[in-house]
Symmetry: C2
Subunit: 475 residues, 2 copies
Amino acid sequence: MTQADDDHRAPDHAKRPEVMADIYSEDGSIRSDFLAMVGASIADRDVLFLRENVARLHESELGDLLESIMPEQRHAMVRLLGSDFDMTALTEVDEAIRLDIVEQMPNDQIAAGIGEMDSDDAVYILEDMDREDREDILAQMPFTERVLLLRALDYPESSAGRRMQTEFVAVPPFWTVGQTIDYMREEEELPESFSQIFVIDPTFKLVGALDLDRLLRSKRQVKIETIMHETNHPIAAEMDQEEAAQLFEQYDLLSAAVVDDNGRLVGVLTIDDVVDVMQEEAEEDLLRLGGVGDEELSDSIAVTSRSRVPWLAVNLITAFMAASVIGLFDATIEQIVALAVLMPIVAGMGGNAGSQTMTVSVRALATKNLDIHNAARIIRREAGVGLLNGALFGCAIGIIAGLWFQDVNLGGIIATAMMINMFAAAIAGIIIPLLLDKYGADPAVSSAVFVTAVTDIVGFFSFLGLATWWFGVPI
Amino acid sequence: MTQADDDHRAPDHAKRPEVMADIYSEDGSIRSDFLAMVGASIADRDVLFLRENVARLHESELGDLLESIMPEQRHAMVRLLGSDFDMTALTEVDEAIRLDIVEQMPNDQIAAGIGEMDSDDAVYILEDMDREDREDILAQMPFTERVLLLRALDYPESSAGRRMQTEFVAVPPFWTVGQTIDYMREEEELPESFSQIFVIDPTFKLVGALDLDRLLRSKRQVKIETIMHETNHPIAAEMDQEEAAQLFEQYDLLSAAVVDDNGRLVGVLTIDDVVDVMQEEAEEDLLRLGGVGDEELSDSIAVTSRSRVPWLAVNLITAFMAASVIGLFDATIEQIVALAVLMPIVAGMGGNAGSQTMTVSVRALATKNLDIHNAARIIRREAGVGLLNGALFGCAIGIIAGLWFQDVNLGGIIATAMMINMFAAAIAGIIIPLLLDKYGADPAVSSAVFVTAVTDIVGFFSFLGLATWWFGVPI
């Protein structure tokens, strides 16, 4: 999880045979010859090879390896490695793979592995387990570790308390720099790696923080309280991890104190966990915009299929609504079949323009760049873009359609309908996400459905309606 | 940019009047009363108020403030603050706003401001300026700083060399911990903040790195070379920033050495810059999937409109291709208008299913979770999902359409067409991004156009073709 881990592994890395110096190929996937050698050694139960070449991988490399081999190979490899299997690698794999591996491992192996992990990684593994297994594993851990893990697990899911590390360095404000450095030289039970130390009063209340570089620049006799800074951004253990991540991003923090309701220091949140949270959030937004829920690549066909049904079902309803708009004008279409040929162009181009505006709006809302101070300006801008591009593409489509069907009237009608629909698309693309956000819904989830519904319905209605009115066909 | 910055500001923060303790309202936008007070003090030329309440904001808060006020207010505020204006805030605002402010500032004010910034922030401002202004500003800077900035600017755009900080702490391997700490206590010219020191030989070649916590835990007489670790991940100055960000993410780095072609240490890349790169990349992928280029909220109507035209133009072509498929069957539609009413449902549902698969595939490619080792499995899975959801929604749509038009045959035809199109959508949704990626194109940019073209054409062709064949209408 940390650079310090990396240090410990560095000498091992050096010992890895030359051919394995980099397990990745050019395109970022694991090299096929490495996979073949690992596969063969699993089949041969070659524990020595695995210990020398797999046990020494960085946790994220081991995670990638686990994701690249077959499920049976995974189980066999974990069994063969035994206590040499670095369980931290499980924090780097898909949830489905993690659960599958953990289920196959005996509880005492898990307890031993978790005992060696940072508390935040341990919680990450424990939180997804069965209650029964979890209690069995915790019962096998030393008292202090058990208490700390239980406290972290008590905080709500996705809270800072769940993601924090309970190992940290804290000193009283009246200590000197010299005392603090001596303490760090003597103390055996320090966290594996840290970039900040915290200053607490006798009741464990947080009074300040001190970056290590500041400590190193100060003379031995200087008192800690004179060089520490007040922590402007202590994070409440109950705070949602996404909110905590935003504080890290805004103030460029490397680590931050996590405090309980009474302002007592209970842990530290570090940037590496926050980076993972940011990536998860970005991924969630992107998938939701594409009409996909929280699915993972390792999910089965049935699970994936089920997770995608809701959005398709909503679209089924809006598609029939659009179809019934077309149904209103069936008499017109019967007489002028060209309308049926051209109408998907009006709806489709509107849909694309709408999804452009919507993508920008949803992203701006997520990054808090779109708010009440600039909403009016952005709406005006999008309306302007809609009018401009509507005029441009309306004329282009009008000319092409007019030439295709040798009918000036048809060209004029589709051009007008196109302009109306591009304008509607722009307005819907910004107003719908804003309204969803205002009323507490996630704009990424449902904007697309509504925007498409608007552009389909407005597209069909304006095009077929204008044609019916112009050509005088009775509805 | 760093926690240390934050420290220096901490006492100022405390002095801010209570009403200003937090300039943000609940929803994350800047409080209206604060904006009003700032606006009034700009109008009144109340420099004292601005110095006490605006100059003391954190750079990211000042950036948010600049984005929330009118352009004329921005210029007036920067003028009124003079040398109290923290130019680092310009790294936190939209490009259009940054350029606008920089253009209005006299070059000597910029030179003075840049002299106080970390080199990575200075480069960030300088790289977007006119050549002439940039040279004028650089000419006003001290020799050493100028050389370092020029070297950073010489590296390609979006490279690690552009994003690196040229201030770092480096010591020879034979120094002891004590010597190193004494050096840091005496030396005045240290970087504002750092979490790692580097170990170099007399020719400035990088030999290792040392985390500060490791240094603090070691006794004074210990030699640096015995506790340093080899840097497994030195970053070439020419490396693309995105690739560097992936190394940070994979190995949970806080900072990393940047080296030139000869392995000489030229700078340090820090996690806070890398977080910005990650956010930019995630944003880019999302916008591209939505058919939007690199646009910003502050862009004008003309700029925005122009940036969205290419995708709409490509869609125009594919829309006419789909329309010409419909045109093949105009005789059938003339006889059975219900086909015109129903056909957008087949195309639309296919489009949605395709965009679900495509979103997952594009994201998995971006995070390198989809590669040659699992591509076959994922393609099989998506095909399975397509068949399953195709059967489900095909039957549902068949029943509804059959009841609506009181025609069993029509229900059977649309159900079959739906299944064909959902299967085609699944295959196109995964194969198209994979092919684009294989041939070096960015799958996020162009997948959507091709996938929609496939689902439109297959949807119309299968539905209208089946109907023509079944009902025996001559094409």
